[in-house]
Amino acid sequence: MKFGSFLVGRYVHVESPIHSLDPRAKFLGTLLVIISVLLVPNLFFYILPAILILSLIRMSRIGFPVYLTGIRSFWFFLVFAAVVQLVSVRGGVRIFSFITSEGLLSCTFVVLRLVLIILAAEIFSMTTPPLLSARGVESVLSLFGMRKLSYEIGMIMTIAMRFVPILAMEADRILKAQIARGADFEKGKLMDRLKRLLVVVIPLLVSAMRKAEELTVAMEARLYTGEPPKIRYRQLAWSTKDTIFLAFSVILLCSILVARYL
């Protein structure tokens, strides 16, 4: 087990028009793009979301190779989907043993769909700092009315993001301490290993609860009430750029809908 490699998250810090988009616009827009990819009726119409996604990637100034590493971690998932299509869809011209032209087409269709969805999701998570994306999720939720609940969810997400690295370090420390005392997590039957893992899980939970208690006291001392504040340290400002981005994703969704149902 290794903790610590994932602490940075996927955010890549550079200056670009995509980075400076309002997190609300980015969140909604990404959602619309993903929905439109899911609704694409045939292979040809993938060209529309593909153009939008590729130009967004270009504008984000991160570089395509970085995006590819994200896709690489899903290679098994993609291969699985591709093989399923090749095996299950039959028809058209036979090309090579069980591979047929229909199968190949539908394989391309599904792999393209998965790749485009992963890319669209990556654009959001790579260009939005985690704390701002919490704000984005919060304000999109608050569009549906529950102002107080969505503020609380935003607060919870912020706390959780702050504590992920701290708790990961804690877990690492406990694990090493128990190994130093002679604990062996590698040998034995599954049941035994699970039971032995308890010497890590219980201290970790206890430490998490301690931290939560302390955090409660600290928050109460600063008069946290759960009421959304009137003023924020970081004001979100909606600009023309955001409207344009959102408009593009709405146009994409509409054209896909037209292509599908007309």
Partner: protein, 183 residues
């Protein structure tokens, strides 16, 4: 139980769940998208401590965070969130009605069975749509999905059962301590 305390606990337990979610390993090589991770355990513990709603929130926040930290396929994460919330919610609901050991076990067994059924239904809907695969593929995967969910939530329940009593006393202890300190 103040609102602040709830927010702090849910936040920190979601962080813990997110970390645990990175320890994912596939159980069946044939169906590699079914990965086991122990991330429902903190959610289940919190759902026993503070009620089903808090546990469900932990699952939701953990999945959003995991998505932001690792990104990738949003549909799989959404399914994970729906199934996890169902499991934690049912188990917490049963336990909140009657807080005994027997009722906790009953709740976890009930939740495991119900959630497995729910996951099956959800997969029957998602697999043909998302993979654009024929329905027979789903039927082929049927046994894996059932076994996977039973194993996943079975292990989660078992670990929670072993851990819960040793951890939950702490909460009461600290309440008592604070009362004593305050006079």
């Amino acid at each position: 139980m103040t609102r602040t305390k709830k927010v702090a606990f849910i936040g920190i337990f979601s962080a813990l769940a997110t970390i645990l979610m990175f320890l994912e390993f596939p159980i069946f090589p044939q169906a590699s998208f079914l990965k086991y991770d122990p991330s429902e355990i903190p959610a289940l513990i919190l759902s026993f401590l503070f009620g089903p709603g808090t546990g469900m929130l932990v699952v939701l926040v953990k999945d959003i965070l995991f998505f932001l930290l690792k990104s990738g396929d949003p549909v799989g994460i959404a399914v994970n969130a729906a199934v996890g919330m169902m499991f934690v919610g049912i188990a917490g609901l049963v336990y909140s009605q009657k807080r005994t050991k027997v009722s906790a076990v009953k709740g976890m067994i009930l939740a495991t069975l119900f959630t497995t059924a729910f996951a099956l239904g959800l997969n029957a809907f998602i697999v043909p749509l998302y993979f654009k695969a024929p329905f027979e593929l789903f039927l082929n995967l049927f046994a894996f999905i059932v076994a996977f969910n039973l194993i996943k939530f079975g292990v989660d329940s078992f670990v929670t059962f072993l851990v819960y009593k040793r951890v939950s006393f702490l909460l009461k202890l600290e309440v008592v301590e604070r009362r004593q300190r305050n006079g």
